[in-house]
């Protein structure tokens, strides 16, 4: 029993310490934002944007097309029973824009780009490269975290706009083939019911998710220790923590915007 309580205690202490470190790193990194005015930091940020954004286009394309298709297929199955297949457009468009677009994009980025960041920064940590930066009086937060954080904060919303659009397109094609709903009718229904609020909520979520993924991944990498095993653990933890935070924060953003009367 005591052993169990002790383990729970160390888990809570470890998680709190990790959260504190992550938040501290986030604030500290934002305070270094002035570095962007220097050419080599700007170039590093653009390089990270390419990795986060452009290189993620193929995988997000496939995932979002099928996400939209699944939404249309499942939505249609229920709506068909009550003769309301015509409503598929609004369901797919609103779900993709408000929830599934940012959610799927964030999950893909956490698993691909975020894990890569944690592994890269973790390897640098265990091979003394982070120490080398500190010895050269170069802030790892400015040199490593800032480009990654800004790239994710900017590219996750960009990719979300793209995945939402492609997902809606996937849903439209599926509706057309499976339920005989014309593309024009799908479009009219979707456009009529999609509000600006749905769009900015989705983009805001994506922005928050991007910051979460970069902060979690970099902080896990910077805290890695113990060689290859430590890097593996940091990578795994970065994905797990990012997923949990994406889901939890996603719920609260929706709650904040749609359930609370301002």
């Amino acid at each position: 029993m005591l052993d169990w309580i002790s383990k729970l205690g160390s888990f809570i202490a470890g998680s709190t310490e990790g959260a504190g470190y992550g938040l501290g790193l986030l604030v500290h990194t934002f305070l270094q934002a002035g570095a962007l005015f220097r050419r080599h930091h700007l170039e590093a940020t653009l390089r990270q944007m390419f990795i986060c954004g452009v290189q993620s286009i193929p995988v997000t394309l496939v995932v979002s097309v099928f996400t939209g298709a699944i939404l249309a297929l499942n939505g249609g199955l229920s709506l068909e029973q009550i003769g309301q297949e015509g409503l598929i457009g609004r369901i797919v468009a609103v779900s993709m824009t408000r929830e599934m677009g940012p959610f799927m994009t964030a999950l893909i980025l956490a698993a691909s780009v975020g894990s890569g960041m944690a592994a890269e920064v973790g390897t640098m940590k265990v091979s003394e490269e982070i120490d080398a930066l500190e010895v050269m009086a170069i802030e790892p937060a400015k040199f490593l975290v800032l480009p990654r954080l800004l790239a994710m904060a900017f590219m996750t919303p960009m990719l979300t706009i793209y995945t939402s659009f492609v997902g809606i397109l996937g849903g439209a094609i599926t509706s057309s083939f499976q339920y005989g709903i014309s593309l024009a009718r799908f479009k009219t229904d979707a456009v009529l019911h999609l509000t600006a609020k749905d769009m900015y909520t989705g983009v805001l979520k994506a922005f928050i998710f991007g910051i979460v993924i970069a902060t979690v991944s970099c902080s896990q990498g910077l805290r890695a220790s113990g060689g290859a095993i430590g890097v593996g653990q940091a990578t795994r933890k970065s994905v797990v923590i990012s997923y949990l935070l994406i889901i939890i924060l996603g719920y609260y953003v929706t709650f904040l915007f749609y359930r609370i009367r301002w």
Binding site: R38, H40, M124, S127, E128, E129, D131, A132, E134, V135, M136, A137, I138
Partner: protein
């Protein structure tokens, strides 16, 4: 001539978990000397120089560098002190996504903002020439050997013309010829730049060749200090066993 102490460790204690690494270490480094810290693997040699550069903080005791107590200075002051120090890591610790030239240029980009790009390039070439690495400047760390990595890392460590250079096992893992090249580079750097150098190693040949003074670290304390000749003639059984590499004596494999 007045001996100017540039680095001083007083009663430094450091533990990692339950493992006591430094147990009241006292050490002084004099300006322009090359001090070699000898000791067995895992004896705390690297931890000692990590204290000097501020990568570790002592649990107890003080670390004074260029007259400043590292535990009681502001971040900006610490940065200034770090810029006066170079550190050669055991693995080189070059950034893998940058070429050798870019690695050497990095401290200049960060800390010599008024320098033009042509001035930067010339200085990088000059430092790479000093370590005989100029032809490999465009290569990436993954494309060069361990010895070349250390030479490139040395070029990076000296690019800001530091007053103090710390070397962590500079010859470990290198064949005797390359190890000797590194020894000569350390001597050459001291001579041309007039730096103070602290080298940690367990390579006796290297120690005798480069040291003005040798300090032997054992069980978290300095147990002997002297010139290479004095160390060679030492009657201390621990020092004798270490320098001869004998398996018989007070040092056991459990230490």
């Amino acid at each position: 001539m007045v001996r100017e102490v540039v680095v001083e460790l007083k009663g430094v204690m450091k533990s990692f978990g339950s493992q006591e690494v430094l147990r009241g270490l006292d050490l002084q480094v004099v300006k322009r000397e090359t001090l070699v810290i000898l000791g067995r693997s895992g004896s705390g040699k690297s931890v000692t120089i990590r204290h000097i550069v501020g990568l570790e903080e002592p649990d107890e005791g003080t670390v004074l560098v260029l007259g400043k107590d590292l535990s009681h200075i502001r971040k900006e002051e610490h940065k200034e002190i770090r810029l006066k120090m170079g550190y050669l890591f055991q693995s080189g610790a070059l950034l893998n996504w940058l070429s050798i030239e870019e690695n050497v240029e990095l401290p200049l980009l960060e800390h010599r903002r008024n320098m033009s790009s042509s001035e930067r390039r010339n200085l990088v070439r000059e430092k790479l020439r000093l370590v005989e690495m100029e032809p490999a400047g465009k290569k990436y760390p993954a494309e060069i050997s361990g010895g070349m990595k250390k030479r490139a890392a040395l070029a990076r460590a000296i690019v800001l013309d530091p007053q103090i250079i710390l070397y962590d096992e500079p010859t470990s893992g290198l064949d005797p010829v390359i190890a000797n090249t590194i020894n000569e580079l350390i001597l050459h750097t001291a001579e041309t730049l007039g730096t103070t150098q602290v080298v940690v190693t367990h390579d006796m040949e290297s120690a005798y060749k480069i040291a003005d003074r040798i300090a032997m670290l054992y069980k978290g304390k300095i147990i002997a200090e002297g010139t290479p000749d004095e160390i060679k003639r030492s009657g201390d059984p621990i020092v004798r066993q270490f320098i001869t590499g004998s398996t018989k004596g007070p040092i056991t494999s459990d230490d």
